[in-house]
């Protein structure tokens, strides 16, 4: 199958799998959050079986059992919106949703539906890192061979990486307005991506400032190598050793001591969709990169 069709199908799959699954916690979540916020209603996917009139045995998706008081239930399986009565140890049903889709996403307090951003925002940021790496790779190859073809590829990759870096910043910023309260919070990861944008903006400034083709190619190849050296520090090290708002920071409860984003709060199902999205975005990047290289190759031949 051709790459472009494969990417298309993969993206349809990713979008469907990102938005169809419902958020579902388990009974332990309901018990825990009832002590913090008594008004909170938490969705739990599970199966019920009747014990007596209006009293049911509830088994959630993780196998936890509990007693459920409810009336007029016709369905035995679905998403149950529950509240917990601490004193008498039973759950009450507030709302029912008939949904038996085979995967659900975990209930993460404070994020809930917004947790799905991880399936798009992180792959975009990842693609920008990959693009900068490829830019450095072709920069090195240019310095070795002095072949202009590699210089062109290095620039194409860097500018695609810059675009994806901007997209990651903008999408993160909009999401932050609704989750953290303001568009920009100077969280370590936000600060580091901002500096990274500045570093790569300087790369394009450098290129447009030099007119002699050979000098331009050589200097920008050297600069792309130096610029990429900073990337691991800004993306993988600095945000993990300092405390911040992003998952994977040093003070993240889900992954103590900091670590990769996938370790914090994601369930197995969510991780599968996340990696599908990662593959889809990576392939999309390579496809656009190849297209761009073909166009620049044509331009060079015509001049």
């Amino acid at each position: 199958m051709k790459l472009k069709y494969f990417i298309g199908i993969l993206f349809v799959l990713v979008i469907l799998l990102s938005f169809i699954p419902k958020i579902s916690g388990n009974l332990t979540d309901v018990k825990f959050y009832s002590t913090i916020d008594t008004t909170k209603i938490i969705p739990v996917k599970g199966v019920i079986s009747e014990i007596s009139n209006n009293l049911y045995k509830f088994i959630d998706k993780d196998g936890n059992e509990g007693r459920l008081y409810a009336s007029n239930i016709t369905n035995k399986e679905g998403i149950f919106y529950l509240k917990y009565n601490e004193y008498e140890n039973y759950f009450t049903l507030k709302k029912f949703e008939n949904n038996t889709f085979f995967i659900t996403f975990p209930f993460i307090p404070g994020l809930e539906e917004k947790a799905r951003i991880i399936l798009f925002h992180v792959p975009v940021a990842w693609v920008s890192v990959l693009a900068f790496l490829i830019s450095m790779f072709y920069g090195i190859r240019y310095l070795k061979s002095e072949n202009f073809e590699f210089d062109v590829k290095s620039v194409n990759s860097a500018s695609l990486g810059f675009l994806f870096c901007i997209l990651a910043t903008v999408t993160g910023s909009i999401w932050a307005r609704f989750n953290w309260g303001s568009f920009w919070n100077w969280d370590p990861r936000e600060t580091s991506i901002f500096i990274l944008l500045l570093i790569y903006a300087a790369y394009f400034a450098l290129r447009s400032a030099i007119e002699v083709e050979e000098k331009k190619a050589k200097l920008s190849a050297v600069y792309s190598i130096i610029a990429f050296v900073t990337v691991p520090f800004f993306i993988f090290i600095l945000p993990r050793i300092t405390s911040g708002l992003h998952p994977g920071s040093a003070d993240d409860v889900a992954s103590p001591g900091g670590g990769p984003v996938i370790k914090s709060g994601m369930s197995f199902e969510m991780r599968i969709v996340f990696f599908l999205s990662l593959i889809a975005f990576t392939l999309l990047f390579f496809w656009i990169f190849i297209l761009r290289n073909r166009v620049t190759e044509l331009e060079r031949k015509k001049i």
Binding site: S18, E113, V124, V170, W175, V295, L298, E299
Partner: protein
């Protein structure tokens, strides 16, 4: 618009996806423009 997004947090993620696609679409439009230029040169 703002309150809609605040009340339905799923829409925030949809907006994020929309922005990413606008970015990718912008890149493709730019490529198309460059191709058109080449085609014009070819005709001349």
């Amino acid at each position: 618009m703002f309150s809609l997004l605040e009340q339905n947090s799923l829409f925030v993620v949809l907006l994020v996806v929309l922005i990413i696609w606008i970015g990718i679409y912008y890149e493709i439009i730019k490529l198309e423009k460059r191709l058109k230029k080449i085609e014009k040169k070819d005709e001349d």
